[in-house]
Assembly symmetry: C2
Homo-oligomer: 460 residues x 2
């Protein structure tokens, strides 16, 4: 749906100018920030960086605090001096992945280094550079205008890289403190073409394990083959009742809760750029997964999966071994689309296992709800317009992404729309050596953040 791009207000233009004038200082402060390790998996630097952030937020002009959890603390900042104006919640995470393997880094992960227009450092893209851009956008508005166009809550988590084990409880227990109209997360990469993107949802997920055991020990496949049941066959036969070769998941009731994609979802998918041959070539694929006729994005956005993550039993070494193994196990995950829930899905998988293979042990492994915002959400229009103002180009709009993030804590627990707006370049190498962010992306991130506040503060 091509449309005329909006023009920045005088208020926003003044902030954009401020950002342009202060690029050097912003970059220097970013480098100071990412120099501090904050590795949640190893509990390194977490407290220090949380304290550093609270100081930064206060200096910018926000009320700020760390809120303890049973794990790493949440950092909360707020500016709520516009009664009646809308409130945006900006979510990010201040923890980073461990930097291993160190020997593959061209410059040390916590000595930020600029090469060819990029800053290299652990956490620069995921997520410090991105939420720091948001904070600088807030600062710029306050410096230029002495106030913000809207109310703002900043929530920075310290455990995202270890699976956000406490975010759901935290949000549920602090609804009042987090009361906002909608949520924007600046995280992840933009499109490889450099075009900005925005995302209206994520798939949820749940996982489980299946274990079969028959004899008390491995036996000889000749001496007892035909007599002793084979746990690998038991699992093969069970699995084959759960999904057909044509790609249809056949667990009874699994699809019951699914909300089919709307006309707007389908229209949005139809607008998405796609080079299928290129995608297949990059993955070394001769074909896509069954069913063959399903569209590329539909696969990732509108359908659950049943992925076997691993199957292990019996002999796997070189050559042959005439063994009839006594045990085998399978690990699976299921990606959930709106409005499936891990609890319901696990209950249905368990019922299926009980019915088809009562001997098999079923081990549920928890999960994460999906999250969706309607494509015609007025907050979607605000986000789109902010991106257009900052970039001068319309974003690619994804109704949903295939992977899972705990966005449901905002959409389902707080009950407000939540969007993801990546500021980083597509080759940011997050979770990998030589993680980096283009300087241009950082500056455009600040501009996007500034435009976002401007649009949230515009009359609705």
């Amino acid at each position: 749906m091509p449309h005329d791009l909006p023009s920045p207000s005088a208020r926003l233009l003044a902030v954009f100018d401020h950002i342009t004038e202060h690029k050097e200082g912003f970059l220097r402060r970013l480098i100071d920030y990412v120099r501090h390790p904050s590795i949640s998996a190893h509990n390194i630097g977490i407290t220090e960086v949380a304290a550093l952030l609270v100081g930064m937020l206060k200096e910018i002009g926000l009320d700020a605090e760390t809120v303890p959890t049973s794990g790493h603390p949440m950092v909360l900042g707020r500016w709520e001096k516009k009664p009646g104006a809308r409130t945006i919640l900006l979510y990010g995470h201040y923890d980073v992945q461990p930097p291993d393997p160190l020997e593959l880094w061209l410059s040390p992960p916590f000595e930020p280094t600029i090469r060819e227009g990029r800053i290299y450092a652990r956490g620069i893209g995921d997520n410090k550079g991105q939420h720091f851009a948001q904070l600088l956008a807030i600062e710029s508005h306050l410096k230029v205008h002495g106030e913000l166009p809207c109310n703002v809550i900043v929530l920075l988590e310290g455990e995202e890289e270890i699976g956000s084990p406490r975010i759901a409880d935290f949000v549920a227990n602090h609804r009042e403190k987090l009361k906002a109209d909608f949520v924007v997360t600046a995280d992840g990469p933009m499109h490889p073409s450099g075009r900005p993107t925005m995302t209206y949802g994520v798939r949820g997920m749940t996982s489980f394990e299946l274990r079969a055991k028959h004899a008390s020990r491995d036996v000889h496949s000749g001496n007892l083959g035909g007599v002793v049941p084979n746990p690998i066959w038991t699992l093969v036969h069970l699995l084959s009742t759960m999904k057909t070769p044509a790609g249809e998941i056949t667990i009874e009731g699994l699809h019951d809760a699914i909300v089919p994609p709307s006309e707007l979802d389908r229209a949005a998918v139809a607008r998405l750029p796609l080079d299928l041959d290129d995608a297949k070539a990059k993955l070394g694929l001769a074909r896509l997964d069954a069913p063959a006729e399903r569209g590329y994005y539909e696969r990732l956005m509108f359908h659950p999966t049943l992925t076997i993550n691993g199957f292990h039993g019996g002999y796997g070494g070189p050559g042959t071994k005439t063994v009839l193994p006594c045990e085998a196990s399978v690990k699976c995950d299921i990606r959930l689309v709106e409005a499936m829930t891990p609890d319901d899905v696990l209950a249905k998988v368990e019922a299926h296992v009980r019915k088809h293979a009562p001997e098999v042990e079923f081990i549920p492994r928890g999960g994460m709800l999906p999250s969706r915002v309607p494509m015609d959400s007025p907050y979607g229009a605000i986000v789109r317009s902010a991106i257009e103002l900052a970039h001068g180009v319309s974003p690619i709009e994804y109704p949903c992404t295939g992977g899972s993030l705990p966005d449901y804590v905002f959409t389902k627990i707080l009950g407000v729309p939540a969007f993801v707006v990546p500021y980083a370049n597509s080759d940011e190498a997050n979770h990998a050596p030589n993680e980096n962010m283009k300087l241009e992306c950082f500056y455009n991130g600040i501009r996007t953040g500034a435009a976002l506040l401007d649009r949230v503060g515009a009359p609705s």
Copy 2:
């Protein structure tokens, strides 16, 4: 079929007396023999023990030689001074398993030690004590009567413990040297009750591997789940077309060649002792393999199997991993009943794979033909009668055993009946630490060997 036991002839009684009188010397010579290691897997002592055997055979009064192969030599002995009389081929193997783990032996594996009526030594049961008993039976006949009741060929292999890789070619290339009326192998254990046994056949086997690969690398189950095909699912769906949960192998044509069990086979099975509850308890089984209604011995003797020896792909560590793996593999073996052949079966499996999952790589792994002798073979009656003369009790007669031995080289290449008549106790611990043979079993083995020669030499 209970029947009156036969009485030994005067000729045999004289030999039995000789055996009784020379027990001590026989035991001493057995100990001297098993003291020599002959570990085929490590090529230790093979040449020495082959030469020792040739010397022994010559001293007993046989023509003897080692016949080189591309591996370890065959030892051949022969006494063929009775034109017109029948010829028995006695097969055994002079190589032994490696003795590891040494620390579990109560006395050193190559220092034969007598404790509580048993000799402990590597190879004492498998197979040195057993074929040595046969040689002493020959010697006893020659000592007492100056001649044998029949013609005898002794064939002792030096590579049985590494899978007999050259026995088929050797037999095919030396048909004239091995021309005999039938073959008896003294190997394996008797029934746990102590009752002697004899076996008319073995299942054959073949094995193969299936490998599936789709993407060129593992991918994230969220980011690409639904897009990238899963090789574990590919193998699960392929395998589920090969055997039903009810236990029916559904590979087209696989059963074509099968010769169903005869009435005599069924009658023999009906006579076999069976304590099913005890068998299940020893294996820790709640049930037998599907199909449920099939008899215990029928499973092992009259039906092929399709055993998955191993299935490996994807993540198998603790907890969960949201991976969509790029490759997986399965190893299978199929036990063959008369008259299936590895070549035909592998061709049919391959055709099945080509038809149902052309993407899957099929890797054949060779195999071994089954072997069967009809239950009413006149040579079976000779063997039975010899066992009855030596033990004073009728043997348990197995139409077939579940495991695979290269007996087909006699039944299918030489084209003569072949029987297995174990001399060792059921707890001989072959292939394990503290391998042993009861002295009583050794002496009864010599008597059985002597009675066998007597019956082969009796007028038919």
